[in-house]
């Protein structure tokens, strides 16, 4: 799998040449401008195929069949829940959606990572401190719990680039930000009728 991603990265760098200050020059600048701090190590500055492909302004003309190949590759890499159970506990899901910490140099690595969903999405209608970078997910449960909807929602959380390449949303599963159980809890927070996301604001 590593070879495939590397291969795609090489093609990408070529197609992005018109746009970039030489890629290796920017890597050198970043290397001289940052220093590792606690869990935030310098390896984090090395880009993979998705990051390289998506490091261009909106509307930059990009090689479409290369992007399609990358999207396909991301879709195939999605790992569905081992036991086939998509929904966990929405109360724990609420905590994951609210917790903005995790993986920062200032965070305690022994603590669970947050999903920080409220940073970009409206969820429970009663919560006024929500972001608008992503669409509102209020009442998401109305979409029902068909196998297709469970799989779609799971894949969006696991690696949104499987559907929408260069989305701004983090790859919560693929990048190991959230555990399988945390993803299940967030799924419940979104889809469980009892979750405040699917209730009227009190």
């Amino acid at each position: 799998m590593k070879a495939l991603t590397a291969g795609i990265t090489i093609i990408l760098n070529a197609s992005l040449m018109a746009w970039t200050v030489a890629a290796d020059e920017i890597e050198a600048v970043l290397h001289n401008s940052f220093v590792a701090k606690n869990q935030a190590t310098m390896e984090r500055l090395e880009r993979d195929a998705v990051q390289t492909a998506c490091s261009a302004p909106r509307g930059m003309p990009l090689d479409n069949d290369m992007l399609a190949a990358l999207r396909e590759e991301r879709l195939n890499a999605v790992v569905l829940p081992a036991d086939g159970q998509y929904l966990g506990d929405w109360q724990r899901g609420a905590e994951v959606a609210t917790n903005g910490r995790g993986l920062q140099s200032s965070d305690d690595p022994t603590q669970p990572n947050g999903g920080n969903c409220y940073a970009c999405h409206q969820l429970a209608p009663g919560e006024v401190a929500y972001g608008t970078l992503g669409p509102s997910l209020t009442g998401y449960g109305a979409r029902g719990q068909s196998q297709a909807m469970l799989q779609y929602t799971w894949t969006k959380l696991w690696d949104t680039h499987a559907y929408n390449l260069c989305s701004h949303m983090p790859r919560f599963g693929a990048q190991g930000i959230l555990t399988e159980q945390q993803l299940k809890d967030v799924m419940a927070y979104l889809l469980d009728p009892a979750s405040p996301v699917n209730q009227a604001a009190e």
């Binding site: 920017i26 940052f34 701090k37 935030a40 984090r44 929500y130 970078l133 701004h168």
Partner: protein, 266 residues
């Protein structure tokens, strides 16, 4: 809890340069009550005192420091940054220029003056924060006009633009993730579109700013470092090429706007 709209309240001072707030006015009442009593005024005085304070082995003040308009000229100097300095053969931001003067004029040790540029929790302000705050106030009201005449200055702009879009780290974040569209917000924190003139002028023109959440004035150098921390990146170094490049990108996008620093922010 009914959201309280005070749309009718006219708070001209706040309306002037801010597009319809992305947080749709939810903090208007709060900002109206805060008024314009900004504790940054103390930090301005402290910065001025430090400029004229003899320090280092040379026990020299910073009056001989050339910020681009001639030695000791501070009025209107900040709005021309980042800019190329022949004596250092480098494009510098205000912070790296001050470090240059501290080492060359005052004879101070580079390690010492760069050891702790920004206040840590429990500190009540640093020398760098105070100097930058005063020098920003010396440009208050001036038009933002970063130098772009030198090839190195223009190269810094394109390098800055590329770093702005560079996605990395576990969350694939770049600056553009949050600052590439207007009218957006993270929770209730409005996000300026730094690729646009309006957004860049509002952001570049209002830093350094007093952060009420910390009781400190923070510089743009710190602002970039703290943004990268939240992007889950390693730590951005003060006066580094990446920092100067990003500041050049923002300042050039903001050109023509008005410097209103020091601001008053969350």
């Amino acid at each position: 809890m009914k959201r309280h709209h005070l749309g009718l309240t006219l708070f001209a001072a706040w309306l002037c340069s801010v597009p319809l707030a992305a947080d749709d006015g939810v903090f208007d009442q709060y900002r109206d009550l805060m008024g314009d009593d900004n504790p940054a005024v103390f930090v301005i005085d402290e910065g001025e005192e430090l400029w004229f304070m003899p320090q280092g082995p040379e026990s020299a003040t910073l009056e001989a420091c050339d910020l681009g308009l001639g030695p000791g000229v501070t009025a209107g100097a900040y709005v021309r940054f980042p800019r190329y300095f022949a004596d250092a053969d480098a494009v510098m931001d205000l912070e790296s220029r001050l470090v240059h003067c501290m080492t060359t004029i005052q004879g101070r040790d580079l390690e010492a003056v760069t050891a702790k540029p920004y206040s840590l929790r429990g500190d009540f302000g640093t020398e760098m924060e105070a100097l930058v705050t005063w020098l920003a106030a010396e440009s208050e009201g001036a038009t933002i006009a970063p130098e772009q005449t030198h090839a190195a200055e223009r190269a810094m702009y394109s390098l800055g633009e590329e770093i702005f879009y560079y996605r990395a780290g576990p969350h694939d974040f770049s600056c553009a993730t949050c600052h590439e569209q207007s009218g957006m917000r993270i929770r209730l924190q409005a996000l300026p579109d730094l690729t646009s003139h309006t957004g860049a002028a509002e952001a570049w023109g209002s830093w350094p700013a007093y952060r009420i959440s910390q009781g400190l004035v923070r510089t743009m150098g710190w602002r970039l470092r703290d943004c990268f921390r939240q992007q889950r990146w390693p730590e951005l170094q003060m006066g580094s090429e990446a920092s100067i490049a990003l500041q050049t990108y923002m300042a050039v996008n903001a050109a023509g706007g008005t410097m209103t620093a020091p601001g008053l922010k969350r």
